[in-house]
């Protein structure tokens, strides 16, 4: 990417992000007013949040203005460097969320095993099944030994009592 392209990308990105921060800052400030600003001369619960929110709002406006001022050339920007990368990322996030939800029902051992299995299957080419299963199994076992047996950390037990 040339320097010019880089700047153009930055400009678009900055405009989007600064608008986002602006909205967050404004909403935050409005809510902070509910908590009271002053209580018999002393700062109340809402004062410092208001200041923080205002700071964000003002800063986001500054970034926005800076972004607009940059010399513009309408170039497309690549948000994702590889063709399939958005798929990889979303699948991973999905896996994380599923782990989180299943963890309480299936217990630590079961969920971890499935998690490893799933990610290894999805991401490996070519798929070596024995390798995948063995690695998943070993991961679960080692985590179990170190965390539960050795350090006695409390991890959820699912319906199978695992």
């Amino acid at each position: 990417m040339t320097a010019v392209e880089e700047v153009a990308i930055m400009r678009h990105l900055d405009m989007v992000s600064s608008l986002f921060w602006f909205m967050i800052g404004t909403v935050y400030c409005i809510i902070s007013l509910e908590y009271g600003l002053f209580d018999s001369g002393m700062p109340d619960a809402g004062l410092l949040p208001l200041i923080a929110g205002l700071t964000l709002t003002i800063l986001s406006i500054t970034v926005f203005i800076n972004a607009v001022k940059k010399k513009n050339e309408n170039l497309k920007f690549k948000f994702f460097p590889e063709i399939d990368s958005w798929k990889k990322v979303s699948v991973s996030v999905l896996a994380l969320i599923t782990y989180m939800i299943l963890m309480q029902h299936l217990g630590f051992i079961g969920t971890t095993f499935l998690f490893m299995l799933f990610l290894l299957i999805f991401f490996s080419q070519p798929r070596r099944w024995i390798f995948i299963i063995v690695v998943s199994f070993l991961t679960v076992v080692s985590f179990q030994i170190v965390l539960v047996t050795f350090l006695k950390v409390q991890l959820p037990r699912g319906i199978f009592g695992m």
């Binding site: 809510i31 700062p43 949040p49 782990y99 490893m116 490996s124 991961t139 985590f143 350090l151």
Partner: protein
């Protein structure tokens, strides 16, 4: 106090075979606890307490204290290798440490961290022995105005953390502050931004956010690139120890970090994270090439790691000399002491001298053991890095997920980690750095509480900060730092590296 006499006494207790053994056990467990993100020294101390019932009180405390500073050593490991801070105070080490690892210099980074930690640890033990009670008195002098002044300085230093645009760094800091106010206001008992979600009553802990922003976000970013079954990390150059130049470059930061870290570690609650922040920004300002900070300079690892270990030693001072725990892990140690029949107080060194000196002596031994333990481990860690990313990345995810769960056995924390993982990933795309956010998140509550407490003390007058000697010093330093960019601009001299793209971008 007769120094040599005390030194002899504490070493003779600490070198009893039982005590060396339990000390080793403690620091070993502590190292693991420090390496695993989320799992902290405090939890380990409490969970392993029953295992100490058969030991004498002194031995028990030696082991449990070992867990604490073992964790301080271990925390830097994941920071450097995986960009996940193992402990809050190790976050700063991520900035340059991880970059060094990516360039194949993980070995030198880890060893400098261990060496610096050893020097700092030894220094703080010596200081505790010599002027322990004096330090306690000094620590007491830090009241709300002083804490406010220091955190104010900290907030300003936060903006120096990033490599990129200072403006964006400030935005991150503002967001961090805003996040820190979620929860129950400890001054008025009002709930802010809680919206009736019980798990938000105490706010969002910084550990889940940190694991999300650093750990998960990093992995998500890496997943975008192509990897077959190869590695993300360059192979190391083979040497695990720092070369001559690196040692020389680190000597200054280590020396300064030790002093700064120990001094700040005395502040209740300030300790580790402030020490490392101040050290990092100090090294950046003093360096001949500040713009290189954040790309993998050894000074960025040597200083902060030393500082946070020096701070850790300081945390023991209030507990041993006054009986006051200034840190959650110290509270756990306090409980352990009570279960073993000892209640610490200002007269601990009189009532239980063998415990007092035994613990201090074991800190010497512990530091030596940790150095001996960690240096060879570096070879192991570096080898682990060579694991194909295919296997490594799910494990990193698991570390983060399980780490957050282990904090409070609450699925909400895990949800926060995942949420901030996604947010962190997006942030990286839009070129925002997570470090200032976390820093503000941690300093924010201290800052606000100290401010409001001070104003109650002064009946609303802000002049209290200038009337008290310690706080006024810090306020003045802060103001100088705050206005220095403007002053320098007006007086001509250009400092490269602190501004990103010259001109209109501040």
């Amino acid at each position: 106090m007769n120094f040599m006499n005390n030194l002899y006494w504490c070493l003779s207790i600490a070198t009893e075979p039982v005590n060396i053994f339990v000390c080793f056990l403690g620091v070993f467990i502590g190292t693991i606890a420090g390496v695993l993100p989320g799992l902290g020294a405090t939890t380990c101390i409490v969970l392993l307490l029953p295992a100490t019932y058969g030991l004498s009180p002194t031995s028990a405390i030696i082991m449990l204290a070992g867990i604490y500073y073992g964790a301080m050593y271990g925390g830097s490991t994941t920071s450097i290798l995986l960009n996940i801070p193992g402990e809050g105070s190790s976050m700063i080490t991520c900035l340059d440490g991880y970059q060094m690892a990516k360039q194949g210099k993980a070995g030198p980074a880890l060893s400098i961290a261990a060496i610096g930690s050893f020097i700092a640890g030894t220094f703080s033990v010596v200081m505790i022995m010599i002027i322990g009670p004096v330090l306690a008195e000094v620590a007491l002098k830090f009241g709300p105005p002083e804490i406010f002044a220091i955190t104010f300085l900290g907030m300003i230093l936060v903006t120096y953390l990033g490599r990129g645009s200072m403006l964006k760094g400030l935005i991150m800091a503002a967001v961090g502050l805003m996040l820190s106010y979620i929860g129950t206001d400890s001054m008025s008992a009002k709930e802010r931004y809680v919206f009736h979600i019980i798990s938000l009553k105490d706010g969002i802990g910084f550990l889940p956010i940190m694991m999300g922003l650093f750990g998960i976000a990093e992995v998500l970013s890496n997943l975008e690139k192509k990897f077959t079954e190869g590695e993300i990390f360059k192979t190391t150059n083979g040497h695990f120890l720092p070369n001559k130049k690196e040692l020389k470059d680190s000597s200054g930061p280590i020396a300064r970090g030790t002093l700064v870290g120990f001094a700040l570690g005395l502040i209740p609650g300030g300790g580790g994270i402030l020490s490392s922040l101040v050290s990092y920004t100090m090294e950046k300002k003093l360096s001949k090439y500040p713009e290189k900070f954040g790309t993998g300079v050894i000074e960025g690892v040597a200083g902060p790691e030393t500082a946070n270990n020096a701070g850790a030693g300081g945390s023991f001072v209030p507990l041993l000399t006054l009986g006051f725990p200034c840190h959650v892990a110290m509270a756990a140690l306090l409980a352990a002491l009570m279960i073993h029949g000892v209640t610490p107080g200002p007269l601990l060194y009189k009532d239980h001298p063998d415990m007092f000196w035994g613990v201090i002596g074991s800190m010497y031994i512990g530091n030596v053991l940790l150095l001996m333990l960690n240096l060879p481990l570096i070879g192991l860690w570096v080898k682990l890095l060579k694991t194909p990313y295919l296997i490594l990345f799910p494990m990193i995810f698991l570390f983060c997920l399980i780490g957050s769960y282990s904090l409070n056995s609450n699925i909400f924390d895990v949800a926060m980690t995942v949420l901030f993982g996604v947010i962190g990933y997006l942030m990286r795309k839009f070129e925002y750095e997570p470090a200032p956010l976390i820093m503000a998140l941690i300093l924010g509550p201290m800052f606000e509480v100290a401010l409001r407490q001070s104003l109650i003390m002064s009946n609303g007058s802000p002049l209290i900060f200038l009337f008290r000697p310690i706080s006024s010093v810090f306020i003045i330093i802060s103001c100088i730092l705050l206005f220095s960019p403007f002053l320098l601009k007006y007086f001509g001299r250009r400092r490269p590296g602190l501004l990103k793209e010259g001109g209109d971008e501040f």
